[in-house]
């Protein structure tokens, strides 16, 4: 379902906290139906970039375009409507702790659809089944494991059939097997839903497995280095920093 249609375009984005610039001049194009990975070392501003993409933080300069439309140029109301087309999985799931898993998934449906309660329940059960949590509808987030919480967060992110799914560090805090299963799920969702997927991560195994395309953020020069498929970048890129990142520092030791 990968197409050449550009879904998201990041244009000369500069991110700053107050007067402290985190990253400048980030430019990238993300194709519809692809998995796009934002990689970089800890503290390089990966999550900050994600916050700019999902409307939590306003860029200091530049813009983000969705389907060719300026995201930060919209008024607040239309931006809110636009945001319903995206789903976000936060680092530790960010489930609302006073609600059961079913209620967590149902909340966006209650707010933004006029479906009957029966239809809603069907969708909630379907979404939880998709992430392998059938039968856990009536559990509270505190009663399940971290990996399950993350999957439940994904079910919630998918509640409104989003066009784009954002993942913030999906493998953080998960064991290798659970983490790999989540990666497989990401690929499966890309293929079956045809959704565009943006992932922030520094987990190499995960990057090589899921990424169709990626950018590398460098904290020292405060800008992005290259865009491309990480497997190709590892083969062909001459950027020393990026090579060191992709080889866990082995390329530095070899010198």
């Amino acid at each position: 379902m990968k197409s050449d249609r550009i879904k998201i375009e990041i244009q000369n984005l500069t991110m700053a906290y107050g007067s402290r610039v985190v990253m400048r001049d980030i430019t990238a194009r993300i194709n519809q139906g692809s998995v796009f990975v934002i990689m970089g070392n800890s503290g390089s501003g990966k999550s900050t970039l994600l916050r700019h993409l999902i409307g939590l933080q306003c860029p200091a300069q530049g813009d983000v375009l969705y389907d060719g439309k300026s995201f930060w140029g919209m008024d607040d109301e239309s931006r809110k409507v636009q945001l319903r087309k995206y789903g976000v999985l936060f680092q530790s799931g960010a489930l609302w702790s006073s609600m059961t898993l079913a209620e967590n998934v149902a909340l966006p449906l209650i707010e933004y659809t006029d479906w009957s309660a029966v239809d809603r329940d069907d969708i909630v059960r379907l979404k939880l089944a998709l992430v392998g949590l059938s039968g856990f509808e009536d559990y509270y987030p505190a009663e399940i494991s971290g990996g399950m919480r993350k999957r439940a967060g994904l079910a919630r992110a998918m509640a409104l059939d989003p066009e784009i799914l954002f993942f913030d560090e999906p493998s953080a805090g998960l064991d290798p097997i659970t983490s790999q299963n989540l990666d497989k799920l990401i690929l499966e969702l890309r293929d079956s839903l045809g959704a565009t997927i943006v992932v922030v991560t520094h987990e190499l195994a995960s990057i090589f497995m899921i990424a169709d395309d990626s950018i590398f953020l460098d904290a020292d020069t405060k800008t992005m280095r290259v865009q491309g498929n990480p497997n190709d970048l590892l083969q062909h890129s001459s950027d020393a920093k990026l090579r060191a990142f992709l080889t866990r520092g082995a390329s530095l030791e070899a010198q």
């Binding site: 379902m1 702790s97 006073s98 479906w115 239809d119 069907d122 969708i123 059960r125 379907l126 979404k127 089944a129 998709l130 392998g132 949590l133 059938s134 039968g135 856990f136 509808e137 009536d138 559990y139 509270y140 987030p141 505190a142 998918m158 059939d161 799920l185 499966e188 293929d191 079956s192 839903l193 045809g194």
Partner: protein
């Protein structure tokens, strides 16, 4: 035999159910099954299965489907449920590829039937018994924590604790000087109210000068310390519970314990000592403000001169009343810190739990203040203080 059994057409979606081969039911879908459209109703399929006899296979034809969403997948899942119940095989070959993949994904992990927590109906007597046991356990916990605190206080007096004065001073600043504004406002209003009530009653007997006695004694012995205690409970006790509760959620309290640092000595004791030391000063301040409130009402409304009122107030208030008031204040400070920290440390591990802990801290604190004040009143009466 090729006749349509049911046909449902809406403006953008049509669903035709027809008997194909002798034992095969075919559902033909065309159009848009997503977005604002309602998905086909499962009743149509159920009726078709009811009407047809000897159906062994249900298959789909969806080449004409342009758009679909999750509700369509949910519809197919319901069809699958129906088929399972009736021993009919469901053939998904004719569905869009994405739908088939999602169906496979949804079935990949079988439903955990044992996972659902059972909601068992309990008898009212059983519930009563259970809550009694809970209350007992709660009370044990209450006294255990009290014991730990008293032991920690004793250790402090012997100079053998992990107590940090810098922490205590910080808490003192937060709950002392920074609370003066609200304490002044509330106590001023209480003094005003006391004087109003007294004035209307006492003037009828020509005894309006005794408003000074009423306001002075009531403020110094009871109202000032109770009001200050309650303000502190809402302001500082709640903050203690929220802070310690969040520390529990972040496992900061567990981290202290692994270093062998007692959370009671390190976290609770500074707060408790700070409140016990600050409260007498806050109470004395509240006494003054409350009397000022009464003074203003009396001088403005009644036929009482300022000097007369002040002289009467000085005469009415005995030293022991004043000491009783600030002594009680210090004790209330202990109660506020105790309930705030207890509920904070008892908190569970989620945002909702921290909210509950804060609520319980304030409820426990205010209840303890009022109840213990009642006991003090009886004791003072018996001891003629």
């Amino acid at each position: 035999m090729r006749s349509a059994i049911v046909e449902k057409v809406d403006s953008t979606l049509s669903l035709v159910v027809e008997m194909q081969a002798p034992a095969t039911l075919l559902i033909k879908l065309t159009g848009n099954v997503g977005g604002h459209n309602n998905p086909p109703s499962i009743g149509v399929v159920r009726d078709a299965l009811d009407q047809a006899t000897g159906v062994r296979l249900l298959s789909f034809e969806s080449a004409g489907v342009t758009v679909w969403d999750s509700r369509f997948v949910a519809f197919i899942r319901k069809c699958a449920d129906l088929c399972r119940k009736r021993n009919v095989e469901l053939q998904g070959d004719g569905l869009p590829e994405g739908v088939r993949r999602l169906l496979r994904l949804a079935q990949a992990v079988p439903e955990r039937t044992d996972a659902r927590p059972k909601t068992v109906k309990t008898h009212i007597l059983q519930k009563l018994g259970e809550s009694a046991i809970q209350a007992m356990l709660g009370a044990t916990e209450l006294f255990r924590f009290l014991g730990e605190n008293l032991a920690a206080l004793a250790n402090l007096l012997r100079g053998r604790t992990q107590f940090r004065w810098s922490d205590a001073l910080l808490v003192m600043q937060e709950c002392g000087p920074q609370a003066l504004g609200i304490i002044a406002m509330i106590n001023f209003l209480v003094g005003l109210i006391l004087a109003f009530v007294g004035a209307t009653e006492l003037t009828r007997f020509g005894a309006s000068i005794y408003v000074a006695d009423l306001v002075g004694i009531a403020s110094v012995r009871e109202m000032a310390c109770i009001m200050t205690g309650i303000i502190l409970c809402g302001r500082t006790g709640a903050a203690f519970a929220a802070q310690l509760g969040t520390m529990k959620v972040n496992e900061e309290i567990s981290a202290l314990e692994t270093f062998g640092i007692s959370p009671v000595e390190f976290l609770v004791l500074p707060r408790m000592v700070a409140l016990m030391l600050v409260m007498p000063f806050l109470c004395a301040f509240a006494d003054l403000i409350s009397i000022a409130g009464g003074f203003i009402v009396s001088v403005c409304m009644l036929d009482v001169s300022a000097t007369e009122y002040l002289a009467r107030t000085v005469q009415a208030i005995q030293l022991k009343s004043f000491l009783l008031g600030i002594g009680k204040g210090s004790f209330f400070g202990f109660l506020v810190a105790y309930s705030g920290c207890l509920r904070g440390i008892q908190s569970g591990y989620s945002a909702a739990d921290v909210g509950k802990a804060t609520t319980r801290a304030v409820v426990t604190g205010i209840t303890a203040i009022i109840a213990s004040d009642g006991i003090f009143a009886v004791l003072c009466h018996a001891l003629q203080i």
